[in-house]
């Protein structure tokens, strides 16, 4: 859904995205001690498996991004988790792109990390399940729309002939944002009941 393939973006956008992604991953790695790496890796594998589920949406179906949830559960570590997941998608399915790894990592991880880290503490503190579900849904929907905006920005910065597509692109993310909001809210409600510690990025 948000995977820009090779051959579309201009060199400055690819290089800029690569540098931003490297910065994000450096930030992620600094926060990962040796004990946190198996947790991040295996959670990342679970997010990967979750995003392969096709969720029906009207006549078509969508794949969840789960980036907002990754921001809540992994914090800045989501940059590294998204990079690894995207690299695996290229190697396993030939899906996505090699040169666009950096841009795609930023497009998917950055909104998730920002919204997840901004609203994550409030989600952990929330006493009322309705409030928690609302906040979690907001993280899911906003992360998806943020990704849509960044994909549009990557296209618009690459060439003026892409601008018309870029300007309508965010609208195509609305169904995904809706599904993502409901699913994220359910997952957070489930985790809050079953294993509340999981909703914090750090180990206890």
């Amino acid at each position: 859904m948000a995977h820009i393939p090779d051959g579309i973006l201009s060199a400055p956008v690819l290089i800029g995205g690569g540098l931003l992604a490297a910065g994000g991953v450096a930030l992620a790695v600094r926060g990962l001690d040796d004990r946190a790496i198996p947790r991040t890796a295996i959670l990342s594998a679970a997010f990967f498996a979750g995003s392969l589920i096709a969720v029906p949406m009207g006549p078509t179906s969508i794949h969840l991004l789960l980036s907002g949830l990754m921001g809540i559960m992994l914090g800045a570590g989501a940059f590294a988790a998204v990079l690894v997941a995207l690299a695996l998608q290229v190697l396993l399915f030939g899906f996505g792109g090699l040169t666009t790894l950096g841009v795609n990592t930023v497009n998917i991880a950055l909104p998730g990390v920002l919204f997840g880290m901004a609203l994550g503490p409030a989600i952990c503190e929330a006493r009322a399940p309705a409030l928690r579900a609302l906040l979690a849904g907001a993280v899911g929907a906003l992360s998806v729309l943020g990704t849509g905006a960044l994909v549009a920005l990557s296209l618009a910065l690459s060439g003026s002939e892409y601008t018309p597509v870029a300007s309508v692109l965010v609208a195509t993310y609305l169904p995904l944002a809706l599904g993502e909001a409901f699913v994220t809210a359910t997952i957070v409600a489930f985790l809050a009941r079953v294993q509340p510690d999981a909703l914090r990025p750090a180990l206890p």
Partner: protein
């Protein structure tokens, strides 16, 4: 594959260089030649068996192909109401399609048969930071396992008459499924971490130094990377 270097470091580097070069081509003729080469490599590679995987096209890419003829200014070919499709626009859409397909086939041909969980040594050899490599091999190792777990959970839902639809019940059911996957993943992570600690894990995976690449590896590297750079140089000239 005769051309691909057997040394994984060189194969990853050569593929990246070649794809980076061809993603920046501007001439449709050279892009078409690149596609022909990529197709030939792909047909000669074992990845050919998984051809159906390559048919996937992202929604916004389709949108791009549909709009490019109308958004690039040039000699009009036909008009629909106020919109004029230009020859330059069609050329632009064709160029993007050629480059995208060439990159896709090249990646499938050269990297399609790698086992991600065994790439650790090669990635270390390419100076990828150690924690990222560790994260990559562990994720690669557990993706298959957790996908199997997800498949079993979905089968369990299906035999209980669950039918995915566009409604809140479906979203809630899938949310619970993914939540369960995450809970099990956390459990598994704790067990894996303990098992690693028991076996004297000191924060590093021991990777034996890889043998130096052979001459034929360097030859394959030079052909692939050089081919990409040559195409780009001819394009700019």
């Amino acid at each position: 594959m005769i051309l691909a270097p057997t040394d994984l470091r060189l194969r990853l580097a050569a593929t990246s260089i070649a794809v980076a070069c061809l993603s920046q081509l501007r001439s449709p003729a050279i892009a078409a030649a690149a596609l022909a080469v990529a197709l030939a490599l792909w047909l000669a590679s074992p990845a050919r068996r998984h051809g159906h995987r390559l048919l996937h096209v992202e929604g916004f890419v389709l949108l791009l192909f549909l709009t490019l003829p109308f958004t690039v200014k040039g000699a009009p070919v036909f008009t629909i109401g106020p919109l004029a499709a230009s020859a330059e626009g069609f050329a632009r859409a064709a160029l993007v399609a050629l480059k995208m397909s060439a990159a896709l086939l090249l990646v499938a041909a050269l990297l399609g048969d790698l086992e991600p969980a065994r790439l650790g040594g090669a990635l270390r050899g390419l100076r990828v930071p150690e924690p990222v490599v560790r994260l990559f091999v562990l994720t690669a190792r557990y993706v298959g396992l957790i996908r199997d777990e997800a498949r079993r959970l979905r089968e369990a839902m299906r035999v209980r008459a669950f039918r995915p639809r566009t409604d809140r019940h479906t979203w809630r059911s899938y949310g619970n499924l993914i939540g369960m996957l995450l809970v099990r993943a956390l459990d598994r992570a704790r067990r894996v971490e303990e098992a690693m600690a028991c076996r004297g894990y000191d924060g590093r995976f021991p990777y034996a130094p890889l043998p130096a690449p052979l001459l034929r590896d360097w030859a394959g590297f030079a052909l692939l990377a050089g081919g990409g750079i040559l195409a780009l140089a001819m394009d700019i000239a």
